[in-house]
Every structure is written in structure tokens, then in C-alpha cells.
Amino acid sequence: MDACAPHREFLAAVADGETGLVPVATLDHVGTCADCRREIRAHQLLSSRLRQAGEQLHEAAPKRGRLVGLAPARLRMVAVGILAAILAGTAGAGWFVLSRPDPVQAAVDASSQPLQIESNDPARVAQWCSQASGRNLPAIQLDGMQIVGARMDRVPSTDIVTVVYAAPSGARITVSWLEGQVATGSGVEDAQRSGHELLIVHSAVGTAVIVGSSRDAMWQTAAAIESAAD
């Protein structure tokens, strides 16, 4: 296998500036590999040319406006819709904000749900997580703790992969990786949800919510995640 193979699928993301989704190892590799940098430039060039092609991409895409050409029944529906929107207004917006799913709360909820895969083999769990979520998660090694399994949950716009670890003492730690939460900085945030104490780790390898029965083990996990990002 050539040295570029494990990194190739991430090159489009690098080209598009989505580096928060790209493993650090790939960014390191790209920095030293002329072939991969050439491919990244080709990806960028292709996008630029597609944007130039514009309308030509779509065969005879219609240009005329049709709102005025709507049938009377449809026009009435649109008018009723606008009126309903005005009446619903503030109450509706408030409902939407309140009903928006909180990914951190969803991660806490997931931490107490049954495992979907049970295994002490980190490679097997990692493979399952990758297949279930379509993304590669960072491998986190926790001293004195053993991986016991994982599950995946989906809330609107966010997939959450939760990996569970256990210590011989019985202490249990869950690490929930939130999808699409690209870190703008790094750090550990102490928080509470539904009576659970938790840590939210923002790092270059992703955002993770840690829940556990031992504060020491939770902080140890946060440190391991931050180390993985270095």
C-alpha cells in the first residue's frame, strides 16, 4: 500500500478547507507529500471550474419566475401560508428554539443507553464506529481502563458516537463524539445536564462529551483526548 492511501479520502476535505474533519496525521502527511498537494490543487481547480460552468451544468434550466404564474388555488395556499406565518410569528419562533435538540443533552442521554456493540477489542469497536457513522474517530488510550463497547445515536443534524470504557474498580466512562461540531478552539468545559456532571472537550480531533462515575477518570479521559490532538 502506498503511503498516500490512508489519507487520500480526506484530500477533498482539505481542499475545501474542512480541516476540522481531517485527521492530524493526514494534515502532517499533506505537508510533506508533493503528490497529495498536487491532488488537493486539482480538487480546488475542479470546484472553481464547476462554479464557472454555472448554468451549463443544468440542461436548459428554466430562468423565468413562476410565482406569478401559479394557479389560483396555489396562490391562495401561498397567501394563507404567509398569513399563518404572520399569526404564528413569535410563538412559533419560540417553540422552534425550545424544541431544538441539544447535542450535549443527547450525548448524556446516550451515555445511559444499552451498547449496540460489546467488545473489549479497540480495533473492532473502532471499525464498528467507523461503519456506523461514516467517519473515523480518534483512538483514545486510557490508562487502566478497558473499552467495553459503543453505540450510535442520531439527533437532527448531529450523529453521536458513544464509546464506553470501564476500570477494574467498576468506574465507567462514556465518551460521546459529536459530529459536525468543528472546534474553533480547544479546552475543557465543566458542565451539568439532568443532574449529571460532565466535561465537554473541544479539541482538534473533535468535540467530545465525557460522562462518568469518577471525576478523576473523567479528567484523565479529557487529558487523553487533548493529548491525541497534539
Binding site: 479520502e9 477533498a12 443544468h58 434550466a61 430562468k63 404567509i82 422552534f96 428554539v97 443534524s157 450523529d159
Partner: protein
């Protein structure tokens, strides 16, 4: 971008209608037919206007509209009993023996030399499952997270499909598909 984040003091309904050309183009990516694209865009506008109170200010209006459109389209496909076409491993540019990506070198000069009309022709041959994520990210310049939300797939899937779409385009341009 101004066009995607609703402007303060400007009626959301007006901005929805302003985005109509973009909606027609995205609808074409989904339907590959001008008449169907026109109807789909119109239906999307009607539904968005009727439920605009659901739109959360400060978020991406275009992504919200695209998500509505994609849901309408999926429902139409389900009603018609239509299923997306399967894509062969060869089409994906994978080695049939190993399933791995064939490491053909990419030549920027081929892309530079290709006429835009030729590029558009090749783009239209892409399987929809790859063309749509590429359209959203490369042409509409939405983030991978927004594209994933519109398509209801993990962001890693968007990343992989955008990569495959571009590789297919490059390969077909080179091969004179």
C-alpha cells in the same frame, strides 16, 4: 454570505422567493429534468412560505430550503416507488479486487484544458448520489456539515462522496467519457 444568512430587517418570505433560481438549480441536481425541477422548486417555495416561522433566524436559509426540497423529493420518490440507482465499484474508481481507491495521479492540466461545456457534460454523467453532495459543497459552497444535514447523512459520508465525485470527474475528463 448575505444570500444564505437572512438580512436583518428584510422579510424572510422575500428572501425565500429571491433564492428561487438557486432552488431550481438544486432541484435539477435532484431530478435531472427541467420541468420536474421547476415543479419541485415551486412546491418548496410554497411549503417554505407556509412554514417560515419554523426557520431559525441566524441559521442558513438556503440550507433550510434545500433540506425542505430534499424531503419533498424523497417523499415523491417513495410515492412513485422509485429507488436510487446502484453504483458499481468500477464507477466508484475502486479496484474491484481490493475495493481500494485506485491511485491514479490527478493531472491539473486536464482540468485546465477542459472546456466548460465538456466539464458540464461530464458532470451530468455523475451518479446522483455523488453529484448532489458535490453540487452543495463545491457550487453552492455550503459547509460539509450543512450538506450532511440537508442530505441526512453523516458528515463523513459527505466527505467521502465529494471526494469520489471529484475523482470520477477527473477520471472521466481524462478518459474522454
Amino acid at each position: 454570505m448575505n444570500e444564505t444568512n437572512p438580512r436583518e430587517g428584510v422579510d424572510v418570505a422575500a428572501q425565500i422567493v429571491e433564492l428561487r433560481p438557486r432552488l431550481v438549480r438544486f432541484a435539477w441536481s435532484l431530478t435531472r429534468a427541467s420541468d420536474a425541477a421547476e415543479d419541485l422548486a415551486q412546491e418548496t417555495i410554497a411549503r417554505a412560505l407556509a412554514s417560515q416561522w419554523r426557520f431559525q433566524p441566524g441559521t442558513n436559509l438556503k440550507a433550510w430550503l434545500f433540506r425542505i426540497m430534499r424531503n419533498i423529493h424523497l417523499n415523491e420518490l417513495r410515492s412513485a416507488g422509485t429507488h436510487p440507482a446502484l453504483v458499481s465499484i468500477e464507477e466508484l474508481g475502486l479496484d474491484p479486487a481490493t475495493g481500494r481507491d485506485e491511485a491514479n495521479p490527478v493531472e491539473a492540466r486536464i482540468i485546465e484544458r477542459a472546456a466548460l461545456r465538456r466539464l458540464a457534460e461530464v458532470y451530468r454523467t455523475l451518479p446522483q448520489v455523488f453529484a448532489v453532495p458535490l453540487y452543495l459543497t463545491a457550487i453552492e459552497e455550503l459547509s460539509y456539515a450543512d450538506a450532511a444535514s440537508i442530505l441526512d447523512v453523516p458528515v463523513g459520508t459527505v466527505m467521502s462522496r465529494v471526494y469520489r465525485a471529484r475523482r470520477m470527474l477527473m477520471s472521466r475528463l481524462e478518459g474522454g467519457h
